[in-house]
Subunit: 462 residues, 2 copies
C-alpha cells in the first residue's frame, strides 16, 4: 500500500506516538487545578506551548491550541472581524483558500459583511498587488494561505503581509500545508495550522494572534486558552502535536529536497507517459511534496478507485468525487482542466520505489478508464468534416467527463473555421470545455444559457 494523500492527513509520527503515550499518563488531569496532577499537566501544557510557538515564530502567549485547524480559522476570522467592526465589515481573501476560510467568509457575508475574493493565475498564485488593490478603508481582515492545499503553489505571503501592514489591515495566514516545512516569514497578524497535517494527532489546531492585533473571541468562552478556546483541553494530543512538529522540522530540510525531486519526477513522467494530461500548479514555487494533474476524458472517481485497487491512495478535485458534484473551487479559480484530477501528496519517508511503481502503472490505469468511457483515442480530430449546417452535441444530463468526450468525438465532423455547440448541465463542463480547447488548440468562443443547461460554443481551428 502506498498512501499519497499527505495533504489530507499523515500517519502519526513516532515522536508524536511516544509523547502521546507519555502524556496520557502524566497529562490527563486538569491543568487549571492546584494539586500535583494538575501542576504536572500545567507544566506539560506550558512546555508544549513554548515548543509550538518557537516552531511558528511567535511568543508563547500569542499561541493557543484549538480542537482543529478549521476551528482555528473560524475563530481567527470571527474574532478579528468582530474586534475590527468599527473599521468596517469588509473581508478580503484569495479564491483558492481552504474551505474553512470560505465557509467563515460565507457566514460573514450572510451576517451582513462584504467580501472581496482575489483571483489567481493559472498556476494558482495570487499576485500580491491584486490583494493590496483589494484592501479598502473598511477592510477588517485579509486572508491568504501560505501554500495551496490542492495544487501546492506557494503564495507571496511576505509581500501580502507588507501590503496589509501598510494599509493597517491584519493578515491571517492559513499555514496548514506549509508549517511542517518551515515557519511563515513576514509581518502576518494571525496564523493557523493543524497537527494531523504534520504527523501530530488529530484534534489539535494552532491559532497565533500576534500582540497588537485586535481580537474579540466570539461565542461563550471560559478561562481556558487565554479565553479564546472554551472547554477542557486535549492535553495529551497537544503535547504530541508540539513534540512531533519539532521532530518533523528537524527532518524537513533534507526531506524537502528528496520529495521535491520525486515530485519533479512525477511532473515530468506524467506529462511524458500519459497522453492528454495537464500538470497544474507552479512547478517551482510550490510545496516540496505535492503535485496535481488532470487527465482529459477521464472520470476522476473511476480513476481513484482503480488507483486504490492498485494500492495507491490519492485524492481528486474532480466534480465526480465531490458530494456537491462541482469541481474543486481551486481548479475553477485557476481555470484549468478538472476532469480526471489527481492530487499526489507524498508523506515524509515516501520510498522512491513506490513513486516509480505509481508512475509505471498510471498510464495503463488512465488508458483503461478512457477505454471504458469510449473516449477518443486520437490526439487530433480526423479531418473528415461533415457539411451539416449546424453542429450540436446534446450532453444534457451527462456527467463529467462525458460532455468533453462527446465534444472530442464530433469535432472532426466540423469544418475548420465552423463552430460546434455543446449543450450541458454538468458544472464541470464550464471549466473543462475551455480547458479542452486550450489543450487541443481550438477556440473557445463562449457560453450562453440554453433551457435547462448551458450552450458552450467551440470553433474548430485545427
Amino acid at each position: 500500500m502506498s498512501y499519497f494523500d499527505a495533504a489530507s492527513a499523515v500517519p502519526l509520527h513516532p515522536v508524536a506516538r511516544e509523547a502521546l503515550l507519555a502524556s496520557l499518563d502524566e497529562g490527563w488531569a486538569d491543568p487549571a487545578r492546584p494539586y500535583r496532577e494538575g501542576r504536572r499537566a500545567r507544566l506539560l501544557l506550558d512546555a508544549a506551548r513554548e515548543a509550538a510557538a518557537e516552531a511558528v515564530g511567535c511568543r508563547p502567549d500569542e499561541l493557543v491550541f484549538t480542537p482543529s485547524g478549521t476551528q482555528a480559522v473560524h475563530s481567527a476570522m470571527s474574532g478579528t472581524l468582530a474586534a475590527r467592526r468599527r473599521v468596517g465589515r469588509h473581508l478580503v481573501h484569495s479564491a483558492v483558500e481552504h474551505s474553512s476560510v470560505l465557509h467563515a467568509a460565507a457566514a460573514h457575508e450572510a451576517a451582513g459583511g462584504t467580501v472581496t475574493e482575489v483571483g489567481v493565475d493559472r498556476t494558482g498564485r495570487v499576485a500580491a498587488g491584486d490583494l493590496a488593490a483589494a484592501l479598502r478603508p473598511d477592510t477588517a481582515l485579509a486572508a491568504l494561505q501560505s501554500a495551496n492545499h490542492e495544487v501546492g503553489t506557494e503564495q507571496p505571503v511576505e509581500e501580502a503581509a507588507a501590503a496589509c501592514r501598510e494599509a493597517d489591515v491584519p493578515l491571517l495566514v492559513d499555514a496548514a500545508q506549509s508549517l511542517p516545512w518551515g515557519p511563515v516569514g513576514g509581518a502576518w497578524s494571525l496564523l493557523t495550522a493543524s497537527a494531523h497535517k504534520w504527523g501530530g494527532p488529530p484534534g489539535v489546531g494552532l491559532l497565533a494572534v500576534r500582540k497588537g492585533t485586535r481580537f474579540a473571541p466570539q461565542g461563550p468562552q471560559d478561562e481556558r486558552e487565554s479565553g479564546r478556546v472554551p472547554g477542557f483541553g486535549n492535553l495529551p494530543a497537544v503535547v504530541a502535536a508540539a513534540a512531533s512538529l519539532r521532530a518533523v522540522r528537524a527532518e524537513a530540510a533534507a526531506e524537502a529536497v528528496r520529495l521535491r525531486e520525486l515530485v519533479d519526477r512525477v511532473r515530468t513522467r506524467v506529462a511524458e507517459t500519459v497522453p492528454d494530461t495537464e500538470v497544474v500548479g507552479d512547478p517551482v514555487r510550490r510545496l516540496p511534496h505535492l503535485v496535481t494533474f488532470s487527465c482529459l476524458y477521464v472520470d476522476g472517481e473511476t480513476l481513484l478507485h482503480a488507483l486504490d485497487r492498485a494500492g495507491f491512495s490519492v485524492s481528486s478535485g474532480s466534480s465526480c468525487t465531490s458530494s456537491t458534484l462541482t469541481p474543486s473551487h481551486v481548479l475553477r479559480a485557476m481555470g484549468v482542466l478538472s476532469e480526471g484530477n489527481v492530487r499526489v501528496s507524498l508523506p515524509p519517508g515516501t520510498a522512491e520505489a513506490d513513486v516509480d511503481r505509481f508512475l509505471d502503472m498510471l498510464p495503463e490505469a488512465v488508458r483503461s478508464v478512457r477505454e471504458q468511457l469510449g473516449a477518443p483515442a486520437a490526439a487530433r480530430p480526423e479531418a473528415t468534416p461533415s457539411p451539416a449546417a449546424e453542429h450540436v452535441v446534446d450532453a444534457l444530463g451527462k456527467r463529467c467527463p462525458v460532455p468533453v468526450i462527446e465534444l472530442a468525438k464530433v469535432i472532426g465532423d466540423v469544418p475548420v473555421g465552423a463552430t460546434l455547440t455543446v449543450l450541458a448541465d454538468d458544472e464541470a463542463a464550464r471549466l473543462d470545455i475551455p480547458a479542452w480547447c486550450g489543450m487541443r488548440g481550438q477556440e473557445y468562443v463562449g457560453e450562453r444559457a440554453a433551457g435547462q443547461g448551458t450552450a458552450y460554443v467551440v470553433r474548430r481551428l485545427v
Copy 2:
C-alpha cells in the same frame, strides 16, 4: 498519592488506552476519503458512534462527537435557541448548571435573549414544578443537568422532561457527571457529555439531538458530523471514548454500590470528627462517588494545599480557590457555607484504605489551618457580654474566612438579644455569615450597603 477529583477528570481507562493505541494505527486517515485508509477510518467512526449512542440511549444518527463537553453544551444551546427563534427567545436553566451552560446563557442574554434561572433547595435540588412554572409560551429551551458536578445531587430530569414535553419546550440535559453511571431516562430532547469524565481521553464530547428537535447549527460548518461540528475529527480519541464508556458501564453497577458506601462513610465521619463542618448535597439522591463539605473558619486554598502535601487531590468551591474570588455559584444557590469547602469525588477503583487515610488525617489538617488563622476554638460564644452601645466588626479588605472568624470572636461580647454588624467587602461573606448564623443558632437579620462594602447584621440568640 490519592486522586479524589474524579468530577474534574479521571485517568485514562485501560480500555481507552488500548483502543486509542489501536486506532492511532488504524484510524488516522480522513474518514471522508474513498481509499482504503479512509474507509477503514469510516468503519471505526461508525462503530464508535453506534457504541456511544447505545450507551446514551439514542439513535446513532442523533449523536455527534464534539471537541469537548463544553463545546457540546454551547452548540446544543446556540443551535436550539436559533432554530426556535420564532417561538421566542426565552431560556430557562437551573441555578446550579455547569459554567458552560451559564456562559452560553450569558451570551444569549447579551444578544437580546431573556433568561429565567430556577433556584434550588439547600441540597442543590431543583423542584420539577419550579422548572415547569418557569416555562412560558416564548420559551425556546430549558436546561437541567442530570446531577450536580459540585455537590452530587441528582435532579428530577424525568419529571422536568415530562413537563417540558407538555409545554412543547425542548429540554437539554447536561449529563457530564452521570453518564458513566447509566443512561438518562425520560423524554429529553438534547443531551451532552464529556469523555474525560469517564476515563476516555480529553478532546471528546457528545451531543445527542433527538429526532424531531429543531436544530440549526450556528457559525460556519462543513460536511463533518452531520454539519454540526466543523473540522477534521479526533477519530482515535472518539474510538477510545466510545470503547471506554462501554467498559465503564459494565463495571458501573458494582462500583456504584462500593463507592456509595465509601461516600457515606465520608459523610458520617466528617460530620463526627471535624467540628463546625457542614456536609452539603442530597445524602441519598446523589451521584455514588461524590461528597462535598465546608469547614467553618477555614481558608479553602490553605486546606487544599495541606491536603495536597498529604497526598490528597481534591477541589474546592471556596472563593479563595477561584480566579474571580467569588464562591462557587452552586454553593451560593444552595445558600450553604462556602468557606473551607472541599469536594471529594472518588474515581472508580478507589481503595477503601485511601479513603480511611483521608478521614484519619482530615481533622488534624482542618485544626491546623484554623490554628494558623487564629479561629475561635470554642463552639459556643462565652457568655461575657460587653455593655458597649454598638457592636461592629470592621472586616473590610479581609478575605474569606476572616470576616466570619472575626464575627465568631466577638459574638461573645454581645448581649443576648442585641445585634452585631459586620462590615465586609468579600463576596463570600454574603453566603458565609448567614450560614454561620444557621450553624450557630444565631439570627441573621439582613444586609445593607455600607460605603465600599456591605453591613451584615446578626442578632445574638444564644
